[in-house]
């Protein structure tokens, strides 16, 4: 039996039966990384810290975990897969990292991502693309592509990602794993290097639903260091893993099932709906009328916040500093320009330009302010829908994983791969992606479930019921 192919809860069972050790589990993961990561390239770097197995074995969750490269870890390099943060070593742990360390999690290393989480394919990385373990010619999705690929390829038992417009769920869908974006405010953002502060949320990427519930238990909760985290009690999510959905009302938004949707994806979702119907869920058609504005609204709000959040990478305190050989303007302006020109890739530059533009005087009302207003309308759509139903089901992405290089020349078509995931970020609600089938090319398809704010329990219940009565999550990658 290969330990690295097990789920976290299976490994925890083995620990309780004294059938394996944290050291054995960690080394089986390491062996797989050695074997597979030269092809998958899920990791940017592995942790240099030695693990104190004796100490860690006393803790509750001695499970190897992969961390997206945008969460600060004490004394370790964190770069957001950007050249501009080369060499940045954080003097503090992100709250999520602190909680994980306390729980006994063994940090494997930092996973690859789109630079500053800008992208849907993990191709926008200073360190090169990550490959989809199901088909190495395909992208793993993004921006948490490294985390999703690491879990799918059994190079990690579980992983942490961040989701601003679908960055956990879309790669989970492309890699055939479970990915959860919790409610905005459920998990502390302290130490998560910001992309868009009002949309970013940290969440688990796991092999099954039970693992997602266990991992969310570890990382969720109020943090006085994050004013946007919710001061609400956190339930034990493993208690919501009921194998039935009797009486649950689930909505199917008509705006999400549009012409042009990949027919294999559509069929998989329809079959998933049948499964849940058989276990007692009541389905109805609903409408989220402002759906068509979601992508545009997202790219206004997210880029505006990003343009400001990325201003601090100026070469003054940390990371890259570049000074041109020839003086152009003033010493300081030259340093800013050269550092940012050299340090940022094309996508950050594109988004900084977009965001700066929409915040500029004379354009603010027409773009940013209007974006905020439409965001409120999108949120209202969900409020109204959740007056009728307990959850909403959609595909996670309109297609399965696409080929590496296929969309890099066309940012707009790349942006559309987040069309089903963006609304959950704009409205702050929780959403999960679980495997619900495979295309004829053997690429995973993801089912998205969305619920009311702070009702992750309903997500888990529906996802768990579906998972217990299907086998998609048991299909193993061959890398």
């Amino acid at each position: 039996m290969k330990l690295n192919t097990l789920t976290a809860h299976e490994i925890l069972d083995l620990y309780h039966q004294n059938k394996t050790t944290a050291k054995d589990v960690f080394s089986s993961v390491n062996q797989q990384i050695e074997k597979a990561d030269k092809d998958v390239r899920a990791y940017i770097r592995l942790s240099q810290k030695t693990i104190d197995y004796k100490n860690i074995s006393q803790k509750d969750f001695p499970i190897p975990i992969a961390i997206k490269d945008n969460m600060c870890m004490l004394e370790e390099e964190t770069t957001c897969a950007s050249k501009i943060l080369t060499g940045f070593r954080s003097p503090y742990d992100a709250t999520v990292i602190e909680k994980l360390k306390k729980s006994g999690a063994m940090i494997i290393g930092n996973t690859n991502m789109d630079e500053f989480a800008f992208g849907s394919s993990t191709e926008n990385s200073y360190y090169g693309p990550t490959h989809n373990p199901w088909n190495l010619h395909c992208v793993p999705g993004g921006s948490s592509g490294g985390s999703a690929a690491a879990v799918a390829a059994h190079e990690a038992i579980w992983a942490i990602g961040s989701d601003t417009g679908g960055s956990i769920r879309q790669p989970a869908s492309f890699c055939g794993v479970v990915g959860l974006k919790p409610t905005y405010g459920r998990v502390s953002r302290y130490g998560l290097i910001a992309f868009a502060s009002s949309l970013d949320q940290i969440g688990p990427i796991t092999k099954d639903v039970r693992d997602a519930a266990i991992l969310l238990n570890i990382i969720a909760g109020y943090d006085p260091k994050d004013s946007t985290s919710a001061d609400l009690p956190v339930p034990d999510y493993t208690k919501s893993l009921f194998n039935n959905v009797k009486g649950l009302k689930i909505g199917i938004p008509k705006e999400y099932f549009i012409a042009g949707m990949d027919s294999e994806v559509k069929n998989a979702i329809m079959e998933a709906i049948c499964v849940l119907k058989n276990f007692g869920a009541e389905f109805s058609d609903i409408s989220l009328p402002h759906t068509e504005y979601a992508v545009a609204t997202y790219y206004i709000v997210a880029t505006a916040e990003a343009s400001s959040n990325l201003a601090r990478y100026d070469g003054v305190q940390y990371g890259l500093r570049k000074i041109p050989e020839q003086k152009r303007k003033s010493a300081i302006v030259d340093m800013y320009e050269e550092t940012r020109d050299t340090g940022f890739g094309d996508e950050p530059k594109r988004r900084i330009m977009l965001g700066t533009y929409s915040l500029s005087s004379g354009y603010y009302d027409a773009y940013y302010l209007r974006g905020l207003k439409v965001r409120t309308l999108i949120k209202k759509d969900f409020d109204q829908a959740f007056g009728q139903v307990d959850a909403i089901i959609t595909p996670t992405a309109p297609t399965t994983a696409f080929k590496i290089g296929e969309k890099t020349a066309d940012p707009l078509s790349m942006y559309l791969s987040d069309i089903y995931t963006i609304s959950a970020n704009l409205s702050g609600i929780p959403a999960i992606s679980i495997p619900c089938g495979f295309s004829k090319d053997n690429l995973p398809i993801g089912l998205q479930i969305m619920a009311k704010p702070f009702d992750e329990e309903t997500l888990f219940r529906i996802a768990y019921t579906y998972e217990q009565n299907t086998d998609w999550h048991k299909k193993q990658v061959g890398v």
Partner: protein, 483 residues
């Protein structure tokens, strides 16, 4: 055209922006100590350095201080507390934006009554908002490089903006004086321009007297004292007049006051073409302060300077001049009031406090709040002078000794032998000697030249080595020679 006639022709229109550092224990968005004068970059943490991943959390004390200041400036308090980002690049700004308040300043629409030369003038307060201070750039000539000290980064700041209600440089000075005093009463800031805990920029334009439209304004920066604000404004007013009289146009620009040369110099216009791209700070969730919270803070407001000025005059029958001196520091006013409860002659108390005591403290460079003198001891001292135990001069000596040693009045009089000789027998002996030695003067006095008694008193004082009670000497001499 003489300068006199131009002064009548034009009137200045001035508005001031004051940046006030609040003296909270910690910084506005993190737990770093908020202290001045420490080693560079020793008072920082990941949040104040703006490191990747860090988030701000509002210091509730800074909010309370802000509301307090707003209430003291008769402002309306915004129930919605909301912050915004002001985006610009500068090496002393580690996040590339400053967290400030844009469309919902914490306080707005207030006023301050300003005592000016001839009347109490109401100066409008447009708004007062909270924000974070930036760090400090230090230019090192030796290495030809710039260094940054982030200790000041995140110090809570309150920006207080007036309406363009001020009509002269002197009025601007008067406004700053009463503003500073008011803020000192609230005990929310050191208000020390030298340390930068109070900074002031000015907007100035001039217009024809009687006109209701505004002229083109210039913004004036880099004034490091109230006097510099006044001097800078005076210079700008004269410069504007000259430009207009030459029928040229004022350029709207930012100008820096050069203290050494006594002139203002235009900053490069490039640096002022800022678009700050304000937008709501997503890391701080807007929230509402309740009316009860605001009223709770209102109840903690102390008596403010002008109210105290009026009350002291009324309650203790002292002059406006004396009351003015007392209110310059609430500690002094309190000291006075404690004395006045124990001693009826409030004029005498004022004379001692406002005269000798303040003079001595000034010489010793001691702050009033640090003195060793207890109000009861000052009262005792005044009583001892008034009942003749010690002379006025002796009293001054006692005061000095108390300030230097903290000993009590009675002990000092005994130990230093400062008691006056009032014993009739001793005094008569001395007077006998003086009368014998000054026969001519005695004759003159007997002939009616009473003013010459003073000379004999002086001679007697000399003989007693200053210890005789001069009042008593005068009485005895008069009795001996005239009646």
């Amino acid at each position: 055209m003489s300068s006199n006639s131009t002064q009548k022709k034009y009137e200045p229109v001035i508005g001031l922006e004051v940046h006030l550092q609040l003296n909270t224990r910690t910084k506005i968005f993190c737990g770093c100590p908020n202290v001045f004068g420490k080693d560079p970059n020793s008072q920082t943490d990941p949040v104040s350095l703006g490191l990747p991943g860090t988030l701000p959390v509002l210091n509730k004390k800074a909010l309370e201080y802000g509301i307090k200041a707003g209430l003291a400036l008769n402002c309306k308090i915004s129930p919605l507390i909301k912050f915004d980002r002001k985006n610009y690049y500068y090496p002393d700004l580690p996040k590339g934006y400053q967290i400030s308040q844009y469309d919902h300043p914490i306080a707005y629409d207030g006023f301050l009554m300003v005592p000016t030369a001839n009347r109490l003038k109401k100066i409008g307060i447009t708004r007062a908002h909270l924000e974070e201070d930036a760090g400090k750039l230090i230019h090192d000539d030796q290495s030809n490089s710039s260094l940054v000290d982030y200790n000041r980064t995140g110090t809570p700041l309150m920006e207080i903006v007036t309406e363009p209600d001020l009509r002269s440089a002197q009025e601007a000075y008067d406004y700053l004086h009463i503003l500073k005093l008011t803020l000192q009463y609230l005990n929310i800031s050191d208000c020390d321009m030298e340390k930068g805990s109070l900074r002031c920029d000015a907007n100035i334009s001039i217009r024809k007297v009687g006109s209701s439209t505004f002229g083109t304004k210039t913004e004036l920066k880099n004034m490091n004292s109230f006097k510099a604000v006044k001097a800078g404004l005076e210079y700008e007013i004269a410069r504007h007049q000259k430009v207009l009289e030459a029928e040229e146009r004022i350029v709207q620009e930012t100008r820096l006051w050069n203290e050494a040369k006594g002139v203002t110099i235009a900053m490069r216009s490039k640096e002022e073409a800022h678009d700050y791209r304000y937008f709501p700070e997503p890391d701080l969730v807007p929230f509402v302060v309740s009316q009860e919270q605001i009223e709770d803070i209102l109840r903690t407001l102390p008596e403010l300077p002008l109210a105290k000025l009026e009350r002291l005059q009324k309650e203790y029958s002292i002059s406006e001049y004396d009351a003015q001196i007392l209110i310059q520091d609430p500690t002094i006013a309190n000291f006075f009031e404690t004395c006045a409860k124990q001693y009826n002659d409030t004029k005498k108390i004022c004379n001692w406090i406002n005269g000798d005591l303040l003079k001595e403290l000034n010489e010793r460079k001691i702050d009033f709040k640090d003195i060793t003198l207890h109000p009861g001891q000052l009262v005792r001292l005044i009583q001892k002078v008034e009942d003749g135990t010690i002379s006025n001069l002796g009293g001054k000596d006692v005061l000095k000794i108390i300030l230097d040693t903290g000993r009590n009045v009675d002990q000092i009089i005994t130990d230093e032998g400062l008691a006056q000789v009032s014993d009739d027998g001793t005094l008569k002996g001395i007077i006998d000697e003086v009368i014998n030695e000054n026969k001519k003067i005695v004759e003159q006095i007997r002939d009616g030249k009473e003013s010459a008694i003073g000379f004999l008193v002086g001679q007697a004082m000399k003989k007693s080595q200053g210890k005789a009670n001069p009042k008593k000497l005068g009485e005895i001499i008069k009795r001996r020679l005239i009646s």
